[in-house]
C-alpha cells in the first residue's frame, strides 16, 4: 500500500485540519480523494494532457499612476471548437482584489474562491485587510503543494493595499513573480505589442482603460483562441470597478470602419439643340 501522505498539503495546515472546528471555520485545506487506479502516474499524465490545450486566452494587467488595470477576453476553446464566447475570466476575489483566469477554468474558479475565503479569515483574525503580496503568496503556496498533479493555472492577482497598487503573476508550476506589467495566454504576445507601445506611467484612467481594451482587441484579431468580449476593470484606492465590456466584433468596425464605396458620377449625354 503506497504511503500517500506526502501528497497532502503542508503540515501546518494538516495540524489545523486536525482541529475539529477547522472544517467549519474553513481553515482546513480542502481534502481531495486520489483516484483508485493501478497506474497513478499514467493517470496524472493523462489528466495533465487533457487540460493542456486550455490556455487559449488573452489576459493582461498593468500598474500605472492611478492604480491597476486588469483586462481579459471571454472565449473558451476546446481544440478548434469555440465552446463559449461569454466566459468570465476576471474573478472578483474581494472588493479590492481581482484574479484573472488562464488555463483550466475549474482550477481558476475553485482556487480563487478558496483564496477569497482565506483572505476574509485573515481579516477577521488580524483586524486588517490582507496585502496583495500576502494574498498572492497564499495562492502560490497552495498551488506549489499541488505541483505535478495536473492543475493548470496562469493567473494574475491584482489589487490595492496600504502600500498602493500591487500585481503578482502566480502559476500552477508554483511560480510567483511581482511585476508592473503582465499578459498571459496564447494571445499575450499580441497584447504585449500594443501594451508596450502605448504605455505611459502617468496616463489618465480613461487612457489606460482604452489602452487595455485595444490590446485585448488586437489579440482577439490575431489569435484564433481569443475572442468574444473585451472586459476591462480598474482597481484604485476605493476598490475595483468594471470599466467596460465591449464585443470585439463591434470594436473592430469601430476602430477600422469600412469606408463608404464612392459612387462615380455617370456622364450624361449632352443634348445638342
Amino acid at each position: 500500500m503506497l504511503d500517500l501522505r506526502v501528497l497532502e498539503p503542508c503540515s501546518l495546515q494538516s495540524s489545523l485540519a486536525a482541529c475539529a472546528d477547522s472544517q467549519v471555520l474553513g481553515t482546513a485545506p480542502p481534502t481531495f480523494k486520489l483516484p483508485a487506479v493501478a497506474d497513478l502516474d499514467g493517470f496524472q499524465k493523462a489528466a495533465v494532457q487533457m487540460v493542456k490545450p486550455a490556455k487559449g486566452t488573452t489576459t493582461l494587467a498593468f500598474v500605472f499612476k492611478h492604480g491597476v488595470i486588469v483586462a481579459a477576453d471571454s472565449r473558451a476553446s476546446m481544440g478548434n471548437y469555440i465552446s463559449s464566447q461569454t466566459v468570465k475570466k476576471i474573478l472578483e476575489i474581494n472588493r479590492y482584489l481581482l484574479g484573472t483566469m488562464a488555463g483550466g477554468a475549474a482550477d481558476c474558479q475553485f482556487w480563487q474562491r478558496n483564496l477569497g475565503t482565506r483572505c476574509r479569515l485573515h481579516e477577521l483574525a488580524n483586524k486588517r485587510r490582507i496585502s496583495v503580496a500576502g494574498a498572492s503568496k497564499l495562492l502560490a503556496n497552495t498551488l506549489y503543494s499541488y505541483r505535478g498533479m495536473g492543475l493548470s493555472m496562469g493567473t494574475m492577482i491584482a489589487g490595492w493595499d496600504e502600500s498602493g497598487p500591487g500585481l503578482y503573476y502566480v502559476d500552477s508550476e508554483g511560480g510567483r513573480v511581482e511585476g508592473k506589467r503582465f499578459s498571459v495566454g496564447s494571445g499575450s504576445t499580441y497584447a504585449y505589442g500594443v501594451l508596450d507601445t502605448g504605455f505611459r506611467f502617468d496616463m489618465t484612467v480613461d487612457e489606460a482603460v482604452e489602452l487595455a481594451r485595444r490590446a485585448i482587441y488586437h489579440a482577439t484579431f490575431r489569435d484564433g483562441a481569443s475572442g468574444g468580449v473585451a472586459s476591462v476593470y480598474y482597481v484604485g484606492p476605493q476598490g475595483f470597478k468594471k470599466m467596460s465590456g465591449d464585443d470585439v466584433g463591434e470594436l473592430h468596425y469601430k476602430y477600422y470602419p469600412v469606408p463608404e464605396a464612392t459612387v462615380e458620377a455617370e456622364m450624361e449625354d449632352v443634348t445638342t439643340s
Binding site: 487559449g56 476553446s77 478548434n80 471548437y81 469555440i82 484564433g224 483562441a225 481569443s226 475572442g227
Partner: protein, 204 residues
C-alpha cells in the same frame, strides 16, 4: 494538429432556382495565428463554373493553378468551355493520381449546366465525388456548416434569398470555429450575371 486544419477554412455551395451560390471565409492562418484576412479560396474557371478549395493553403493554390492550366488546354483543343460534370471528373482524376501522397485539399465544384440548371459537388482529398441536390460544405468548420445548412436551406430560392441563406449559414458556423472566419465572400451565379459580395463578419 492535423495538416488539413493547419491553415483553417470554411466553404459552402448551395443550389437555388436556376442559380447557385458559393461562399467562403477569408482567413489565412498558421495554427492559431491569423496572417491574412483576404485569402482567396474560390476561383473562377469560366463564367458559369467556380471551384472552391479548402484545406492546406499551399495545396489550394497549386490545385487551382493546375486546374486552370488543364481547363485552358481543354478550351484550346475543344474550342468550348468544360461542362461542370466533366470538370468534376477532372478534379477527381487529378486528386486520385496523388493517391499515395495526396493534396491536402477538399474541393467544391459549382457550375451551371448548358440548360441553366445548377450543379454542385464536392470531393474528398483523394477524389471521391459526392454529388448533391441542395448544398455541399467543406473545411475545418464542416460539422457546424452541415448543421447550419441543414436547418436554413430551402429548395428553389431566388438569388437574393439564396445570398441571405448562404451568408447566415457561413457566418453562424465560422463563429463557432477558432481557425476560420475573419470575413466572408459570396458569389451568386445565374445564367446572365454574377454578383460578388463580401461579408462583414466577426473579426475574432
Amino acid at each position: 494538429m492535423s495538416i488539413t486544419s493547419y491553415n483553417g477554412s470554411a466553404l459552402i455551395a448551395m443550389v437555388g432556382k436556376n442559380c447557385f451560390a458559393i461562399a467562403s471565409d477569408r482567413r489565412l492562418g498558421v495554427q492559431f495565428q491569423t496572417i491574412a484576412t483576404d485569402f482567396q479560396r474560390i476561383f473562377e474557371i469560366h463564367e458559369t463554373l467556380y471551384v472552391g478549395l479548402s484545406g492546406l493553403a499551399t495545396d489550394v493554390q497549386t490545385m487551382y493553378q493546375r486546374l486552370k492550366f488543364r481547363h485552358k488546354l481543354y478550351n484550346l483543343r475543344e474550342e468550348r468551355n468544360m461542362r461542370p460534370e466533366t470538370f468534376a471528373s477532372l478534379v477527381s482524376a487529378m486528386l486520385y493520381e496523388k493517391r499515395f501522397g495526396p493534396y491536402f485539399c477538399e474541393p467544391i465544384i459549382a457550375g451551371l449546366n448548358e440548360d441553366g440548371t445548377p450543379f454542385i459537388c464536392t470531393t474528398d482529398l483523394i477524389g471521391a465525388k459526392q454529388l448533391s441536390k441542395d448544398f455541399v460544405v467543406s473545411g475545418t468548420a464542416s460539422e457546424s456548416l452541415y448543421g447550419a445548412c441543414e436547418s436554413m436551406y430551402k429548395p428553389d430560392l431566388e438569388p437574393e434569398e439564396l445570398f441571405e441563406t448562404i451568408s447566415q449559414a457561413l457566418l453562424s458556423s465560422v463563429d463557432r470555429d477558432c481557425i476560420s472566419g475573419w470575413g466572408g465572400i459570396v458569389h451568386v451565379v445565374s445564367a446572365d450575371q454574377v454578383i460578388t459580395r463580401t461579408l462583414k463578419g466577426r473579426m475574432d
